[in-house]
Every structure is written in C-alpha cells, then in structure tokens.
C-alpha cells in the first residue's frame, strides 16, 4: 500500500510539473532554413508577424537546412540539440523520422483548422508524407531554357523529351548530379508509361534503360549540385536548358529579366516543411508548437506565396494566393497539366543502390 502511495504521489508530482512547465515558453527560438529568397519569404510571411505579436521572442536563424540531417544526427549523439525548428525537404524529414531524430506529432492537435473549418490532417491531406513532417510548400523541379538560343524555325521546347532531343535542340543542358528525377525523366522519354516508371526503375534492367537514355545526352550535360547553379548557367548562356527548382527560375525570369522560358512539362512535385527535433526542453517545445500553429495556418501559408513562387501546402490556402502569383505556381492548372510526383518510399529504399550505379556511370 505504501508503494502504491509513493507511486501515486510521484506520478501526481510529475503531472503537476509538466503542466507547470508547459505554460512556460522559452523566449528564444532557433529556426533552421535554406537562406536566400526562401528564408526571406518565411521571415516576411510568418516570423515577423509572430514576433510583432510576441515581442518577447527573439528568433535566431541558421542557414543549415542542406546539411540538417547530418548535423541533427551529430547533435543528437552529443545530446545537445541547439535547434528548435528545422526546415527540410520531405525526403530528409522521412530520414530524420526513421532515425528517431524528428518528433512525431498529431496534426489535428498541433496545427490549427483551415479557415474553412477542415481539420488540419485533411487540409494538408496526403502531403503529410511522414509522421514527423509538417508540410509548408509544394515546389517543383522543372526545366528552364534560353529563349534566345532556340534554333530558328523551331518551336520553343515544351515537352520533357525535348531535353533528350539533341538534333532539334542542340546545346548544353544542366541536370542535377544525382539519379533522382533524372532517371524518371529518362524512362518517361524512353516510352515507359508514367504509372510504371517506379516499377521499371526497381529492376536492374530498368536502371540500365534509364542510364542508356541519359547516355544519349551525357556529353552535352553540365551537372549541378546547388540550386543556384542552373540559374547562373542560364544567365551566363553556358547552357540552353537546365533543371532546377521553379522558384529559382521565377526569380531569373521575373526579377532578373533574363531571356529564359519555363517548361512545366513533367515537372516533379516535391515538398518542403518543418520538423521539430526530438529531445527539446519542455519550454522550448512549447514555444515551437505555439509558433508552428501560427505559422502553418491558412492565411500565413497563403501569405508566403506573395514572396516566392511556391504553392502553399494547405488546400484552404489555395484560393487566397494572390492572382499575379498564381500563374507562377507549380500547382496552377495551366502549369500542372503533366506532373510527376516524387516517390518518397521508393527513393528511401533505392537511393543508395541507384546512386552507386549512377555515380559509377557518371565517372565512366
């Protein structure tokens, strides 16, 4: 009986303690993002409004998203998590979740309902691709081309397979130095039906087929590894066409007024969003959750589209996106006639395998 009492007392104490701390929110928040125009859109759309409402909060930015997975793992092993909220692409979120480095959450508990009253889990819908991933925007990887380099008497390229057509469209192309997306495009242009691409790619023959297709343009390809490479190469006239994120192309076309055109065909949709690292102090976590509920509501996500050409991840935000930006969104019906959805589970399994083959092919 005495034991029972002790147990009850201690559990009551723990409960009381946790409630006490939950109300107490830390006033400093370290947010990890990508830097550049994207981070700026986050700053303008929700960090600044939030800090205005809660002036006691100071936000520290860390532009480490591209190495977030490795850094978080190192922090976790050192048992010293210094980040409160991390912006990562969905594939990285899945990895972090797998590794137990990102916190699982309940969408309906953590996130607010949409403006139209739909529950968060439905408003975000399928975009919650991992139990740890809080979707923010939809972006796409697609092609841009130099309008002044289109050969005379030929229509501007408007199909993905034009990338592989060196006869009609001679010139250099830039592709990302990794198999993801390139293998899918190669198969699509080698006559594989869209819904069979991943089945084919899972086999050694399918990988051979994709690489053989890429082989036909290999000599004309400049391989990029940073998102800024293709816009730069396009601006320099180094390449005729190249793949990159649609927001980057938007800024080359609209903000820098370069003679560059968009080719939306077979654009690959991908997601970017937040994860909360595991092992935060209670006060820090309370602050992050408080901020997140605000930053992912319908209005804030729609606001973000004012600053960058990425689509909001909430369905209910779509109608609020300003008209002049709609035409630049990857999700705009005009642009999304033929899209391709990145298969996270496939790449989680096959990434290392295909990457080894791809790198070995590149080195040949």
């Amino acid at each position: 009986m005495k034991l029972m009492k002790t147990l009850l007392a201690s559990s009551a104490l723990t409960a009381a303690a946790s409630v006490g701390v939950a109300q107490d929110m830390s006033n400093e928040m370290t947010i990890v993002s990508w830097g550049g125009a994207y981070q700026n859109s986050q700053l303008k759309a929700y960090v600044e409004p939030y800090v205005e409402m809660h002036p006691e909060v100071t936000v520290v930015w860390d532009e480490s998203s591209n190495e977030a997975v490795a850094k978080l793992r190192a922090m976790n092993e050192a048992d010293n998590i210094t980040w409160d909220l991390v912006d990562v692409v969905a594939a990285d979120a899945i990895r972090l979740c797998d590794e137990g480095l990102a916190m699982e959450y309940d969408p309906d508990e953590l996130l607010l309902e949409g403006d139209d009253g739909t529950a968060a889990s439905e408003d975000f819908g399928d975009l919650i691709v991992s139990d740890c991933f809080i979707p923010q925007i939809v972006y796409s990887t697609t092609f841009g081309y130099r309008t002044d380099m289109v050969p005379e008497g030929v229509d501007a390229p408007d199909e993905i397979c034009d990338v592989f057509d060196l006869e009609t469209y001679p010139g250099k192309r830039s592709l990302e130095k990794r198999p993801i997306n390139n293998m899918e495009w190669a198969l699509l242009c080698d006559g594989v039906a869209k819904d069979e691409v991943y089945d084919v790619l899972a086999t050694a023959e399918g990988q051979d087929q994709a690489l053989a297709k890429l082989d036909t343009i290999k000599d004309s390809v400049v391989w990029w590894s940073a998102g800024a490479d293709t816009p730069q190469l396009l601006a320099d006239g180094e390449i005729f066409m190249g793949s990159t994120y649609n927001g980057r192309l938007y800024s080359v076309i609209e903000e820098q007024n370069q003679p560059v055109g968009m080719m939306w065909d077979a654009q690959v949709f991908d997601l970017d969003g937040w994860i909360i690292p595991t092992g935060l102090e209670d006060a820090e976590q309370a602050r992050v959750e408080h901020f997140l509920a605000f930053a992912t509501d319908t209005k804030r996500l729609a606001d973000q589209a004012n600053y960058i050409a990425y689509g909001p991840a909430r369905l209910s935000s779509a109608p609020l996106v300003p008209e002049n930006m709609k035409q630049h969104m990857p999700t705009d019906p005009e642009n999304a006639k033929n899209t391709f959805v990145y298969n996270y589970l496939f790449w989680a399994d096959y990434r290392d395998d295909i990457d080894a083959r791809f790198q070995s092919w590149l080195a040949q």
């Binding site: 009850l8 997975v69 797998d98 399994d349 395998d353 790198q359 080195a363």
Partner: protein, 565 residues
C-alpha cells in the same frame, strides 16, 4: 628488493657493496638503477605536465572525435541490439537449405520488432540493412506499422472475456513480485536489453520486480511485461501500475495460457488466469502474420541478410569501401556497374600528384625570384603570392569558373583574337583540367613558401664559386643550387599533396563528373545518405594511404631532409 632492506640501507652508514653481489647503489644507498629511473620519471612527469594543456586539448578535440568516428567503420551492434532474440534463434538456421526459418524465429522476430517499433528503432535498423540489401528499409518501415494488428486483436479478445485486464493495476498486481519472490535476473536482463536498444542506460529507479512464480509458468508474458515496464519507466517516465501494457503482453498471455500449467498457482491471481484461459482467440502462425504484412518475409532474403550482418563488428563497410560486399556465400566484388570507389581513390591519388607536380613547376621559379630579388621587389612579389591567401576559397574557385567556362574570359579572348572558332570553344571546366588548374592556383602558396624559406638559406656565393671554377650556368644551378633547394621541394610537396588528397570544395564546384575526389563521396555519405559507417571506412582508408605514402617518402627521400625554413 624488499622494503626492509631499503630501510636498513638508508639508516646505516654507507654500505660497502660487495664487489660480486647485489646491484650498484647510489649515494643515498638505493640501487642506482632505481634512483636514476626515479629522477628520470620526475623529469618526464614535469615535461608531461608542461605539455598537458596541449595534450589534453589535442586528445579531447582531435584524437577522440576522430577515433570515435573511425570506429564506426567496424561497429555493427545495431542488429544484435535491436533484434537480440531473433539473432539468437537465427544462429541455428541454415540458409543453404533454402527454407524459411522456423516458427520460433518468426515468434522471436515478432517480439523484437514489436519492442523496437515501440521504441522507434526499427526504421533505423532498416536503413542499416538497406545498405546491404535494397528493400530492407521499406520492409521494416511497413512491418513496424502492421506489427501490432495481431496483438491488438488478442488484447481485445482478452479484455472482452476478462474486463479486469483492461486495467493497468490488474496487470501490475499479477506480474509484480510484491511480497513474493522476485526474478531479479530477468529484470536485469531486460534492463540491459532496453539500455542497449536506446544507446543508454535503463537504470531508472523502479519498484517493479517480476514475480518469479509467474515468470516460471508464463515466461514470455513475464518477459514482455517487464520489457514494457522498464521501457515505460525509463523512456516515458510513467508509472507501470497506472498504465495498460503493450498489446504484445496480452498476446503472449493468451498464447501461453493455452498450454500453461496453472496448478502450482493459488489465490486471486490463479483465479484470474483461469478465467483468462477461457479466452477464445486463435493465434495464426507468426509466419502467416508476417506474410500478411509483406510477402518478402516468407522468402529467405531478409533472414539471410539479418543473419549475415548480425555480428557485433563488421568488415562490411570496409568491403563496401573497396567495391566489394559480404554476402551469405562469402566475400565478392560489387557488380561492375556499381564499382566506383576504387576508381575514385585512384583518381584522387593521380590528380593530387598532378597538382603537386604542377605546383612544383610553377612554384620553383617564383620562389627563386623571391629569394634572389632585392628586398623591395621581393616584398612586392611576396604580397602577390600571399594575396590569394587573404581571399575566400569560394571566391577564388568561382573566379576560375568565370575564367574557364565556355562563355568565359579565356574562351572569349581566344575567339576574339581568332585562335578558336566560336563553335569549338575549349572545354576547360567541369573536368579534370578545371580541377587541376583551380587547385594548383589555390595550393601554390603552400609550395612557394617552404621553397622560399629554404632557398633564402642557400648562400649566393656557392653559385658564384661554382661559376668561377668553370661551371656553366646550367651546371652551376643543377649541381650546386638545386640539390640545396630539394628539402624545400620536399616540404612543399608533402604539404600540397596531403592538402589536396582531402580537398573537397573545389572539386565539387569545378570538377564536373570526371574531376571529383573521394572526399566528395565521403561528404555525400556523411551528409546525405547518412551512411556514416561507409564514410568512416573511406576516411580510414584515405588516412592509411596518406600514412603509407608518408612512410615511403621517408624511406626514399628521408624526412630529415624536409625543411620548412
């Protein structure tokens, strides 16, 4: 020598040592050898104390982190820590027979997987095994999701029949030893297991001890309940008595009660268990449950993979690092289309040598000029040599991009003066040429400075003397000056070679596909594929290669001949 004798020696007058027996003694009577070594030890201790701050600093910030990182290249305890019972059961299974493992293995796997899914460790194991066998990652992820269906049904059936089992306290009263005899060895086993699973110590205080009586009759139930209790206390920091245990415990109970002999038990608990014995719930073979989650489980592939890679230490990462792999049939090369790393090692060495060579060629005349010009001009030149040092590495690399690209400065000039046709511009970037040019430029100061400081010490009179004795300019240089500058070349070469072999950022930017180094692969495995074991193995190999080359250099040139000034 005993202490008593020492004391005697000190107390008495200086003894006259017998000529033929006993050791030589010092003035104070202790044996000379000992007093010498004591004096030396004190000296060494003092020296050690003096360097202690640096030593500790280097140890803590350099040796230990690098050592622990390199250790990952052989560490492989994740398999045995996550699936301990499965690994144990699998030991007696022979993949050669081509048959899937027995029901016992599936059952052990069920328990292991259930626990690791609760602890969210199964996906981590999946990623580890996916390095060896494609598809394991999604297999584990899916299985973690589907694993509790069966146990959930069992729990529902149990709670329908005996509602008391819906209450955590009933369970606690049943499983806890209380006043009776406790099975502490089970408890410490489970603590060890949970601790290993979570890379920590599951040593939190708890009042629960599994009852020895129950553990004897219902071993699996007792074990799974204890696992849950330890996990609940250490990870969730909750009290076992207030919470309902995992569905797995209900499943174990329902299954064990079908065959258990309860005659030895008495009291309330026995009555409760007899009541529960009446639960009608058919448990399908575990292999069927697994087959339902994924057909892959009823093939030998996952089992073979687990068995092959279950040892605590593995050579697997090192094998992968040299394009080989460990398969159930032994070691073999990776399929040819996946071999990449040996090529990269070879290329890294080749290009580092090329860069070192071109640094020598370009650096030698500059260093000679620096050492022989009048001071005012030499200083100006020195600033030009050092200027790149003060510019960011990224800026210098990007500048080369602007220079070398096909619409770049060099090509534009060549086209403008008509040397090159506009359609056939030179390809000077995104290949080995680009990497060699950019890195030669970046590393050049590391070659020039040691050369310069050595050349400065060569007296100009030697050259004059040689010439006055009738040597031609070339002979005087080659026979008199050059040999004296070799130590500088040696020092510069080692510096440049070792720096370039681990270079990462420049090859990444200007290397394209044929100009990248092994370090780019290491970076990929550290930051995007998260295969730190492989990255550590690659790093270890690189380290060993550098050390071996250094050793060769020492044997051939002699490290004494290297001078930095």
């Amino acid at each position: 020598m005993s202490n008593a004798k020492d004391d005697d020696a000190v107390a008495g007058p200086v003894p006259v040592a017998p000529v033929d027996a006993g050791p030589v003694l010092a003035a104070d009577g202790t044996p000379l050898k000992r007093s010498l070594s004591r004096a030396l030890r004190r000296q060494k201790g003092r020296a050690l104390l003096l360097i202690a701050p640096l030593l500790i600093f280097v140890l803590v910030t350099f040796i230990i982190p690098i050592g622990s990182m390199l250790f990952r290249s052989v560490e492989n305890d994740i398999v045995a820590n996550t699936l301990p019972y499965t690994v144990q059961e699998l030991a007696s299974w022979d993949a050669e027979t081509g048959e899937i493992p027995s029901e016992d293995v599936f059952k052990a796997m069920y328990d292991d997987l259930f626990l690791s899914a609760e602890a969210k460790r199964h996906t981590r194991l999946g990623s580890r095994l996916n390095y060896e066998q494609t598809g394991m990652s999604s297999l584990f992820r899916q299985s973690g999701r589907g694993i509790d269906d069966l146990a959930g049904d069992a729990e529902d059936a149990l709670e329908d029949a005996v509602p008391a089992f819906g209450d955590g306290e009933t369970w606690y009263a049943l499983m806890n030893a209380g006043a009776g005899e406790g099975n502490t060895s089970l408890l410490s086993n489970v603590r060890g297991r949970i601790g290993r699973l979570n890379d920590g110590l599951a040593s939190a205080d708890m009042d629960f001890v599994p009852s020895a009586e129950i553990a004897a009759v219902l071993p699996r139930t007792a074990r799974t309940y204890t696992e849950w209790a330890v996990y609940t206390v250490t990870e969730d920091e909750r009290v076992p008595a207030d919470n309902d245990p995992w569905e797995l415990v209900s499943l174990a109970l329902v299954e064990e009660l079908k065959t258990a002999d309860l005659s030895g038990l008495s009291g309330d608990q026995a009555a409760l268990l007899r009541q529960a014995q009446a639960v009608e719930f058919d448990i399908p073979p575990y292999s069927e449950t697994f087959a339902e989650i994924d057909d892959e489980w009823v093939t030998i592939i996952p089992w073979e993979t687990i068995q092959t890679h279950s040892s605590k230490y593995t050579a697997g990462y090192f094998l992968n690092a040299i394009d080989a792999q460990k398969t159930p049939d032994g070691y073999e090369w990776q399929p040819e289309e996946k071999q990449i790393l040996l090529t990269l090692f070879g290329r890294t060495l080749f290009m580092s040598l090329m860069i070192t060579g071109s640094c020598i060629l370009l650096g030698y005349p500059v260093a000679w000029l620096l050492a022989n010009l009048p001071a005012s001009k030499a200083n100006l030149l020195m600033i030009l040599v050092l200027l790149p040092f003060w510019t960011s590495l990224l800026v210098r690399t990007s500048a080369w991009k602007v220079m070398l690209q096909s619409q770049g400065v060099i090509n534009d000039v060549l086209v403008w003066i008509g040397l090159v046709d506009d359609a056939n511009r030179f390809v000077m970037i995104n290949n080995q040429f680009g990497t060699i040019v950019a890195m030669t430029h970046i590393l050049l100061p590391f070659m020039i400075l040691p050369m310069y400081s050595v050349m400065q010490t060569v007296p100009p009179t030697y050259l004059r003397a040689a010439k006055s004795l009738g040597a031609t300019n070339w002979t005087a240089f080659w026979r008199v000056y050059f040999p004296q500058s070799v130590p500088g070349i040696g020092a510069g070469s080692i510096l440049v070679f070792i720096l370039s072999i681990g270079y990462y950022i420049t090859p990444e930017i200007v290397g394209g596909t044929t100009g990248v180094f092994i370090s780019n692969r290491i970076a990929y495995h550290i930051s995007s594929s998260l295969n730190w074991g492989l990255a550590a193995a690659l790093g270890s190999i690189l380290l060993v290669v550098v050390l071996v080359l250094y050793w060769c250099y020492d044997r051939i040139v002699g490290i004494d001949n290297v001078k930095l000034g």
